[in-house]
Amino acid sequence: MPDQVLELRGLNKSFGALTATSNLSLTVMPGEIHALIGPNGAGKTTLIQQIYGALKPDSGQVFLNGRDLTGLSVPERVRAGIGRSFQISNVLMDFTVLENGMIAEAARRGQSFRFLRPAFSDSNLIKGASAILDRVGLLNRAHLPVGDLAHGDRRMLELALALAASPSLLLLDEPMAGAGPDEGQRMTEIIEALRGTVAILLIEHDMDAVFRLADRLTVLVEGSVIAAGTIAEISQNQAVKSAYLGDED
């Protein structure tokens, strides 16, 4: 049993002449929050897409809990244990908060292909969905249509949906994007509370949040890892300072 949750081996991806991912290897350990940082265009989202299965790498492999995911589709990878939130919040807009949770709960239980009993009055689904919503503090807004939710709450809901299937790896693509200071704070606390329960690969531009959350950091520039390590190690790294954090001297 390998002890890393996620292992990337020599991923390469280019779009024409543009190299988005270059011989990239990376590991995420169980229960850790691993932040992926880098300037715009460094290939962070492209990398997430390859882990998630929405983009095929040109070469290289993706392992989740020792299982080779390369070649699997998005739904197959989700069932293998990958949860994801997107850069632009991605929830079911035409439904209420609780209904969102219930549809995810039905999917988690493998019951989505049932035709007879009404879904939205099923007490088991309500129970499961309520537990999902409770984790992100949305239970008191359960009956609101998602369209009426504030932006920050939508992000929370998305996180809840990503967590619904109890993934072993959570991919969070800029969960604080567009959030106000209070919302960002709340999101940080909720992600903080997840530490140890699920491995998280986090893309985030809000450096305060990164410094507070990340157990380890990987710095990506032009598709390559230029540094990896703890926050203390990274902040001493000269290459990172010049390439990303900027020379403050």
Binding site: I103, A104, P118
Partner: protein
């Protein structure tokens, strides 16, 4: 009296989608009593046509309204269903149940193949590819000379064991039972886990994928179900019309059932049936009304029909059901949760 009071309360609170559906279906069950006493047997015929097109529209609505897939070729399944009767009779198979099972099998298989191929595309390409399949089948039947080609073939009303469809109202109630069963089935399907997942796919396909589900499986399944329903409507249509020709699967009929759905209310249970009622009644009455006002122009009734449809769609946003909703007579838009 209390019943009436209860009913008034119901109307004030807003009739729910499925309640409206069953009221309409109950209306069809009682309609022959009215035509009997009013001595208007012709209107039974109109009602049968409404029920048949309503049934087909309800079938299409599963993919169009609930699944968000704009299939522009569903008349093909109506046609195949009708030809299942014609061709069976040509070879001496007169049993109506056989026709139905044949139609379910053929339309299901055809729906699977067309759905599997067409659902790889979306948007305008999906519309075009479904239309292309339907046109292909249309011209196939035009070219099949032994089955009447362009001229079609005449059909005897199917043989339903002890039921003689030539007796008055037997066909009417056969169609009614089929309609009620289709309505019942759809009511279960759209509220089920499958149904809400299908609606979720319409709302946001990538989120459903992120739940570990394969949207294509749900889309194809709904496509097959809707093809089978349209096929069933087609087999009964054949007995009603006692005749089948490629005209039944002309692309304008695909458009007609689409308009019926949009007129009634996309993605609602009662919408397609309500749409069929209003659409076909307008088709009956507009020429008469125009004829009374301006006899010379009676045959140009479409010039009123078009703007009427446009107005309902523009101001209804959600068709007639949307209008009822706005006026406070129905509450379909705001889905109240059945949760404490």
């Amino acid at each position: 009296m209390t019943g009436l009071f209860h009913f008034a309360n119901l109307v004030r609170a807003g009739i729910r989608d499925n309640a409206l559906l069953w009221m309409l279906i109950a209306g069809f069950a009682l309609f022959p009593i009215f035509t009997h006493f009013a001595d208007l047997p012709f209107w039974n015929d109109v009602a049968m046509r409404i029920m048949l097109l309503g049934m087909a529209a309800m079938g299409l609505n599963l993919v169009l309204g609930y699944g968000g897939m704009v299939s522009f070729g569903h008349a093909a399944f109506i046609g195949i269903g009708a030809y299942c009767v014609g061709i069976s009779q040509f070879f001496g198979m007169t049993n109506g149940l056989f026709h139905m099972f044949l139609s379910i099998g053929v339309c299901g298989a055809l729906g699977l193949v067309i759905g599997y191929l067409a659902l790889r595309t979306t948007g305008i390409y999906f519309i075009m590819i479904t239309l292309a399949f339907a046109q292909m089948l249309f011209f196939l039947f035009v070219s099949l000379e032994q089955f009447g080609g362009d001229d079609g073939m005449s059909i005897d009303r199917a043989d339903f064991l002890v039921i003689d469809l030539y007796e008055p109202l037997r066909l009417y109630f056969l169609i009614w039972v089929a309609l009620a069963l289709v309505a019942l089935g759809l009511m279960f399907i759209v509220r089920s886990r499958f149904g809400v997942t299908l609606r979720a796919i319409k709302s946001n396909e990538s989120r459903v994928e992120a739940m570990g589900l394969v949207p294509l499986h749900f889309k194809i399944t709904s496509y097959v179900i809707s093809a089978v329903i349209c096929g069933l409507a087609g087999t009964l249509f054949a007995s009603w019309q006692e005749y089948v020709s490629p005209d039944i699967m002309h692309w304008t009929r695909s458009g007609e059932i689409m308009i019926i759905i949009i007129l009634g209310g996309l993605g609602t249970l009662a919408g397609p049936l309500l749409g069929a009622i209003v659409f076909l009644l307008l088709e009956e009455f507009l020429p008469l009304a125009l004829g009374a006002v301006a006899p010379a122009y009676a045959e140009n009734w479409m010039i009123l029909f078009g703007p009427l449809l446009i107005m309902v769609v523009l101001f209804g946003r959600g068709g007639l059901i949307g209008l009822l909703d706005k006026a406070g007579f129905a509450r379909i838009g705001k889905r109240k949760m059945a949760v404490k």
